[in-house]
Symmetry: D2
Subunit: 349 residues, 4 copies
């Protein structure tokens, strides 16, 4: 059994991985670490786990947390993983980080990212950074398999990159015309209560936010640029709609001359032929169809009348957008089939 030390166990990203580990035949909890709620079982904070998972939550420096593990997962905000990872790697452990700490494998790119967020620009573990791998299995399976340090992708980024990668790779979109109109459920903001996520404020209302400079844009642009072989900049509109789980990303761009729906659809089907979590279709889908699961529904619906590439990408932001991608990465990092412990649908309705 692969043992996991999970740092940040009490957040949505942490509890999501706990739920997945309980289903996984080969990966299990080594220890649970958090900044608060320590000294109690995780089920005292998340009562749905009562009697099913009652593991203790430890402080990071609690000696009892120092069990023998194979991998450390940081389900923590920016800046935590890069501080703690070097010691773990030195101890022979692999590292998977949910934040932006290891999504950009050069100090220059990280500096750009940190600047955009207004956080300190100097990376704390540049050595690990250079060797780190972007953890989107659909694009980087081989590197992830060989990596010590993997940066789990952002939720919006997963939806956008999977939705646009085939078009970028095959030149099916004019590079300077890409628009990502993204709607997320409220759990994307984490467990911490805020005014905009207060039930009476959030219900029956949809809104946009951070209309310039959302931090996930950079991942999307970097990955697509690599695939396209040219520099891509895109327009990104994050929005919140009154649901808990799900991202629906409508992705647009000009079709190059001679490219039509049929050609795009064929290219998408080929690109994802061996990617078991991506379902390519040419009919409308719903975030409800991927809710609670690691699947991505990609609808190819170009508008030939206006010559527009249109892709609609659907994920569960907490699964494929977070803990599910993490588990998929762990599967690859430890040599399991990527669907192990993840080949299930959500519960409907």
């Amino acid at each position: 059994m692969v043992k996991v030390k999970l740092v940040g166990a009490t957040g949505y990203g942490g509890v999501g991985l706990i739920e997945l580990m309980m289903r996984h035949p080969e990966i299990e909890i080594g220890s649970l670490i958090a900044a608060t709620e320590t000294g109690k079982p995780i089920s005292a904070f998340w009562p749905h786990l009562q009697g099913i998972c009652d593991e203790m939550v430890h402080a990071a420096d609690d000696p009892e947390a120092d069990v023998d593990v194979d991998v450390v997962v940081y389900s923590t905000p920016d800046g935590i993983g890069m501080q703690l990872a070097p010691a773990e790697v030195a101890n022979g452990r692999k590292v998977l980080d949910y934040s932006g700490d290891f999504r950009f494998n050069s100090t220059e790119l990280y500096e750009d990212y940190a600047t955009r967020l207004g956080i300190p620009v100097q990376h704390k573990a540049p050595g690990l950074l250079n060797d780190s791998v972007y953890g989107l299995v659909e694009l980087h399976r081989e590197e992830i398999a060989a990596a010590s340090v993997v940066g789990n992708p952002g939720c919006y980024a997963v939806a956008c990159i999977i939705g646009l990668a085939p078009a970028a790779a095959a030149g099916l979109v004019e590079a300077d015309t890409i628009i990502c109109d993204c709607k997320t459920g409220i759990s994307g903001g984490g467990k911490k209560p805020k005014q905009g996520f207060h039930y009476p404020e959030a219900y029956d209302s949809s809104y946009s936010y951070r209309l310039t400079g959302h931090q996930h844009v950079m991942e999307v642009e970097r990955e697509l640029s690599v695939l396209a072989g040219s520099d891509i900049q895109l327009t990104f509109t994050p929005q919140v709609v009154p649901m808990t789980r799900g991202i629906i990303a409508c992705l647009y761009g000009k079709l190059p001359r001679g490219v039509d729906q049929k050609k795009v659809l064929a290219a998408y089907r080929e690109f994802y032929a061996e990617k078991p979590f991506v379902r390519v279709m040419d009919t409308p889908a719903a975030t409800g169809h991927v809710r609670g699961s690691n699947f991505v529904n990609v609808t190819v619906a170009c508008d030939e009348r206006t010559g527009t590439l249109r892709i609609i990408s659907h994920i569960d932001n907490l699964v494929k957008g977070q803990a599910g991608s993490a588990m998929q990465n762990l599967n690859i990092m430890f040599g399991f089939d990527e669907m192990t412990g993840l080949n299930f649908p959500g519960a409907h309705p």
Copy 2:
């Protein structure tokens, strides 16, 4: 007092106008007509009206419904208004229709529209059609004031046209690049239960539909083309998100060389300076801010990095998108100030 015969009184569009008439100092119910639920007070069907509005609902051919009225409002599906309007107009009454029956003032345009919907292409009242006016007060106040027959606009169309009109009129967007990414609340589908609107199916899920040929596109293209003085075709993506009221429309296009956020914002402010229901801003808004009211929030948020016009338009689909626009039209048709009976906010939260 202006008296209204309301045909289709029991639908969401009908009950919305009833609620508004109860607040209006100069416009009142003459008679209520419906195809079902007749012979009972409207409050038997919509119990929130009990003791406040207990008007009887009549069948169309019920003699008791034949009261002396000044205007007939058809809150009915396509095809009803055009059949019944000629006799009313002949009787000296004005007509306001919620459907597509009088949104296109030529039989050729109507034929296109009907073809798109798969309904009979021959208009039943071509004489009235040619004299009819498109009922968006922000664009057609003068014609509406003089009109006998007004076609109330579609809900998506209101959000898109108001969001794009200043750009189209002033050449602030390249005409062949426009994308309308529109998210509606579920009440847009009317009161009739359907699988996709069944609570357990609709909650916590967002989805797209009718990815080609939504019937509202044609109105948007027609109005923008007139403003731009050139033929505009656009890409339109209707989506349903789990809320009851509201449309958030993200509207995109290429900025022509030399056009930036500042210039666009100024143009929008000028265009809507005398339009009391349109609030132009350069910060994110929410559909919750217009919920229950006739206001439109228009956020101008161009992405200068990519040279993209970006406008986010927010309405309540049942008010400015339907009954509120209807009342605004009635105000203009009968010489009242356009805000009469409409100058109120929704109830928050």
Copy 3:
């Protein structure tokens, strides 16, 4: 025009009264006071008011707030009104308070209440307290008309008292068997974000809380005891269900021998014959039927098989449960018809 100084203008209780004052022909805003968000228009905090109500929000000690008003309304937590009211009353102003400060017209009762809440037991304005009146118009219209200081009732208390008053008054329930099973929407907790009201935590879940000693119980017991002429103690179970507005209170007790559904229904109809906001019926209702309005739907549905009085009471917790009752009190305090500015339905859906 009656002018109101509203203290606590930015909370749900405050904004609710602002919305109602904008509809009222005789009562208007004098000044808006709050502890935070001062120095800006109220519409900067509540954007749905933009362009409709842009009154400035002042700090309590701001000289600009010191306008000539007829009444001061405290939409504030326990302990504020009693501190500030004496000076206002000395200035000839009437006072209406939303908290528990003036719901109990003796220092002994207040002490009990404060003990239950764990707040200081000594009332700060005992002189006013003794003259204060409990502001439920359906029971205390005459006293309210004559009062200088009125305590607006708690939301649960409104639902329970109106639901049980006729039974208590006419001996239609055995006094020691009363159970109040109450379900509230989340806005009852106010505008402040908390873990249990965080959208992802609150959606699709119902829960009970404070299973002993909810502060509203005391009001209910006091009012019912007075009506019954004997001491009543009852079991009260507050619950939160995932909606924003509404309370549905199921009220139970043993029917005395010889009392049946018919007799109860008749007694309720008689009791509320002259109370225009109370709708008595013998069929199921919904909180949606009173949402956004000051009406109360009272379903009388005794279970004769088991000899049980069963009353189901429905209110909008923010209207009849708070700002609407406040306006109804103001109407009575200033000699207007009690329905003035309140005789409207909510917007459906």
Copy 4:
């Protein structure tokens, strides 16, 4: 592997069991039967299953559906199972039925039930009926293990019986004082769209219905009467709150003299000591804590001030209230541990 023929595969009860069978190591789909949507994979109707479960849906008389199975599960309305079961049992198959067809093991009791529902009172398979067992494992484990025909309990009944059984069995409640105030999520009404479940009608509203004679009452009264050794009749108030999954049942009755919270809590803990799905506690819980799982949270919170037994029972109506209980029954019927394939939490949030 135990093979299941599932009749009624496309309803919520059917798809719930499909999801559970996909997790179960020893029980699997034999064939899927439905009245509509036949001739297509189940994933064509429920797209979340696409690529995970693409079994064909057959008509009942389709020869391809006639595979060798060990048990037939009827997830069908009243009246279907009793018609089809005899032939299956004659073929050596066990039967589990979701409806009321086999919840009452005598024709007299069935007649009462059918009368209450207004359906034909004559049972179609009285021989099987007399041998059938009520499928609540917590009360009837031994009989279920030996049974050929099991009647899966109603969702409300599960919540009420589990919540009241220890009190009834130990005489901790006065038998003629029991009140069940039950709130269900909307999925309890099944997948079929109806006016009251239409999203715009159902959101932000709570309502009661069928205030006399809900069909589940009879199961509750029968089971409790057997436990109490005397005839129990109770008051039952079904309500719908705007959530998809969950039942919160508040259960009340008079405490006999000398019975207090401590004694009740101890009795409940003892009663459920060996029942792994029942969590007894003395603090408030939430339906969200059992959402997506087969667990029952039972809060014991007597009100000693008024001498009232108060139990709050929480289930997921689609799991413990339907498909989960079905799977628990199958586990017992085929000799597996009752938690096999069911020992997991729901996904939070």
